[in-house]
């Protein structure tokens, strides 16, 4: 593949990633948000595959495969399982209306492109528009975590945010060293595990959503 083809593929994937992010922000039901974040991880895996084929970097193949297995399959499956087990009645519960978060996420995208445009020379080393897309994904994921009151939606936001970082790392410098990427994924899995246990624990003891507890003040 020529560098131009790769660049245009990555740009297209970046557009699709932003689209899945908007789906996550706009999702009124927890299931939709989970499917959207799974689709987003799948796109990240494809981006990894494309870059691997273009550069011949074996590490990127491994990273793409791990992303596919862990982030596109395993973690969404766990979330799905927890939702079914908890039999969630309340769905998303935004702190501010979804339209408001959508407007904020548009703002984030614009600012991300502005910031990266100001960088100039460094961008030569970076494939296409990967940097602004990565920044936008990361910040929007954080936005989702901050504006939702249910624990599972906050976890979806966390995974989306992590996706943004992975995408940036891939496009910016063909991924970080393999061992680091594996360590990062391991941390994400462990964090998801601990969070799941906490969610189930609170649900079983006080029948409330852990993210909704607000006794600790001042």
């Amino acid at each position: 593949m020529s560098a131009d083809t790769v660049q245009s593929i990555i740009d297209d994937l970046g557009a699709l990633l932003l689209f899945t992010m908007i789906l996550i922000v706009a999702a009124g039901q927890i299931y939709r948000a989970i499917y959207a974040v799974a689709a987003q991880s799948l796109l990240i895996a494809i981006a990894g595959g494309v870059l691997a084929a273009a550069t011949g970097n074996v590490d990127l193949w491994v990273i793409a495969a791990i992303t596919l297995v862990v982030k596109a399959t395993l973690l969404p499956w766990v979330l799905h399982w927890v939702v079914q087990r908890m039999n969630v009645r309340r769905e998303i519960e935004p702190v501010i209306p979804i339209a408001g978060t959508l407007a904020l996420s548009v703002l984030i995208v614009v600012v991300s492109f502005q910031v990266s445009a100001s960088l100039g020379p460094v961008r030569q080393a970076i494939t296409g528009n990967a940097l602004p897309v990565g920044i936008a994904l990361t910040l929007t994921g954080v936005l989702v975590m901050a504006t939702r009151k249910t624990a599972l939606t906050q976890m979806v936001g966390l995974f989306a945010s992590e996706n943004g970082i992975f995408f940036t790392a891939m496009a910016v410098s063909q991924g970080m060293p393999l061992i680091i990427e594996i360590g990062v994924i391991l941390d994400v899995i462990l964090a998801a595990l601990v969070m799941t246990i906490m969610v189930l624990r609170v649900r079983s003891t006080v029948d409330a959503d852990i993210a909704d507890l607000d006794r600790l003040r001042g």
Partner: protein, 491 residues
């Protein structure tokens, strides 16, 4: 392989192996013996490593590396771990008796504490900035479980807030790391596909693209700053510190937030080389001042003694950030000394507060009255700790705060110094008011009059001794270590 290199991989292994060994037994005496024994071993090995480094400079092994800067934090970590282990013996007897800790889950508690210590050891020894991040997230995961360990929903609420807020924060840290890695890889000077190694990055740091490093450093500052408890990202800190079991609170406040500061220092040196020293100075001063200012009203209005100590940590992390921001040999030396002083003193304060809470069955400072009457030694230590935290001479914190102030005045940061001084004075008064109320006066009827048990006292006396010694005069070996560490940051 030299002694130093061997120790590099043995050190993280000691607590890890201990953690797994602990899972094989349920006997509380064996668990406590393992706890104290392993912490003492860690302390001894660290002192050997410190001597090696003092004699023959930094040692590196793969992704791990130890230099004088890391040693400052490592020594603090192992001393506090040792003190915590001794304190836990007596604390546990009482906690099990009142049902705060369940006897059948004790082994997983001990195992988690040691895994937590192991992740912090790796954080401190990490040379590779990616490993630094992974270990830092590891500390979040292990300590989140510990914060919720009491199992009631306040604890779980605090644990959830902690894990969500610090994981968001630390994501920013990873993003910043990726950007700086990209800047380093773009220079192409680094050989094998650009490593994330801090020691390999430093020599070429001045050639990195300033634009991308600037954005990267801001991300890192927010990320590791969250973990360090700098305002306005400190939201998790008072909850976590107040809900965690007391020995864990001491580790969180004494070492964990300092480990995050070490991460910030590593990136600060890169940013200072790439964009000039003025940029990181400015960022650190802003976060430092916000922390000191934000913490003040909460300290004054607080009734919960452990939350008070939590907010107080926000203030002191702010002071360290100010010291690093003012920079120069004096400011940096002061900041590092403050890291040690605050770690030791804050752990002592948490220990003493934990004993008082157990005695009165409440964390409310309006209930805890007249500690000196019912527990003379513990009460004295509580007063000493509070005096030191407030910054009264001749205790150690006074010395380091004075150095930070002197650096700020010498370099002409008059506005920052004015705000800093005003807040220090207010907090001084507030803290002495709170401590005076707790120590003197008539004990409430709720107070238990049991004699004081020996093991918490030994743990506290150890820390109090260090606090007094560092206040009276810094021993030559410590001074040498801090000087060499300062040189690494200042160049």
């Amino acid at each position: 392989m030299t002694v130093g290199e061997t120790l590099l991989w043995v050190l993280p292994l000691v607590p890890t192996v201990t953690a797994f060994a602990m899972l094989t037994t349920r006997d509380r005496r064996i668990l406590s013996a393992l706890d104290v024994g392993s912490s003492a071993l860690l302390l001894a090995l660290t002192l050997i490593l410190a001597r090696e480094v003092a004699a023959s400079g930094p040692h590196a092994l793969g992704v791990l590396r130890v230099d004088d800067l890391g040693l400052v934090f490592l020594v603090l970590l192992v001393i506090l771990t040792f003190a915590v282990a001794i304190y836990t013996v007596g604390w546990l007897t009482q906690a099990v008796a009142v049902g705060n800790m369940q006897a059948k889950y004790l082994r997983s508690y001990f195992a988690l504490v040691h895994l937590f210590v192991a992740t912090m050891v790796v954080t401190i020894l990490a040379d590779n900035l990616g490993v630094l991040w992974i270990a830092m997230e590891g500390t979040t995961i292990t300590s989140a479980v510990l914060i919720g360990y009491h199992g009631h929903h306040h604890g779980l609420e605090a644990a959830w807030k902690y894990i969500i807020v610090t994981t968001i924060g630390i994501s920013f840290g990873l993003f910043g790391t990726v950007l700086i890695y990209a800047a380093a890889a773009a220079t192409g000077v680094q050989g094998s596909a650009g490593t994330l190694s801090w020691s390999a990055m430093m020599p070429v740091a001045s050639t990195l693209d300033p634009g991308i490093v600037r954005i990267g450093f801001i991300f890192v500052m927010i990320g590791y700053g969250t973990k360090a408890g700098l305002a306005p990202m400190h939201l998790w800190l008072p909850d976590a510190h107040s809900q965690a079991p007391t020995p864990v609170s001491a580790l969180l406040s004494g070492v964990l937030i300092k480990c995050a500061l070490l991460g910030i220092i590593r990136f600060q040196t890169i940013a200072a080389a790439a964009c000039g020293a003025a940029f990181p100075t400015y960022v650190l001063l802003v976060f430092g001042l916000i922390s000191v200012v934000v913490a003040t009203p909460f300290i004054l209005a607080q009734h919960d003694v452990k939350r008070l100590l939590g907010y107080h940590s926000v203030e002191h992390v702010g002071i360290v950030a100010l010291g690093l921001g003012f920079g120069g040999p004096i400011g940096t030396y002061g900041a590092l000394l403050h890291v040690v002083n605050h770690g030791v003193t804050k752990a002592l304060a948490f220990f003493a507060a934990g004993k008082a809470i157990a005695r009165y069955g409440s964390r409310d400072m309006r209930v805890i009255r007249g500690v000196l009457r019912v527990a003379p030694i513990g009460g004295t230590l509580l007063v000493l700790g509070a005096l030191s935290l407030a910054g009264v001479p001749p205790f150690s914190i006074f010395i380091s705060e004075l150095m930070v102030l002197r650096a700020g005045i010498g370099l002409g940061h008059s506005v920052a110094i004015a705000i800093f001084l005003a807040m220090i004075v207010v907090i001084f008064a507030g803290l002495l008011h709170h401590a005076g109320g707790m120590a003197f006066g008539q004990p409430t009827a709720a107070a238990s009059r049991e004699p004081e048990s020996w093991s918490p006292l030994v743990g506290m006396l150890l820390l109090a001794a260090i606090m007094v010694v560092l206040g009276l005069g810094i021993p030559a070996s410590v001074d040498g270590l801090l000087r060499r560490a300062t040189e690494i940051i200042v160049d």
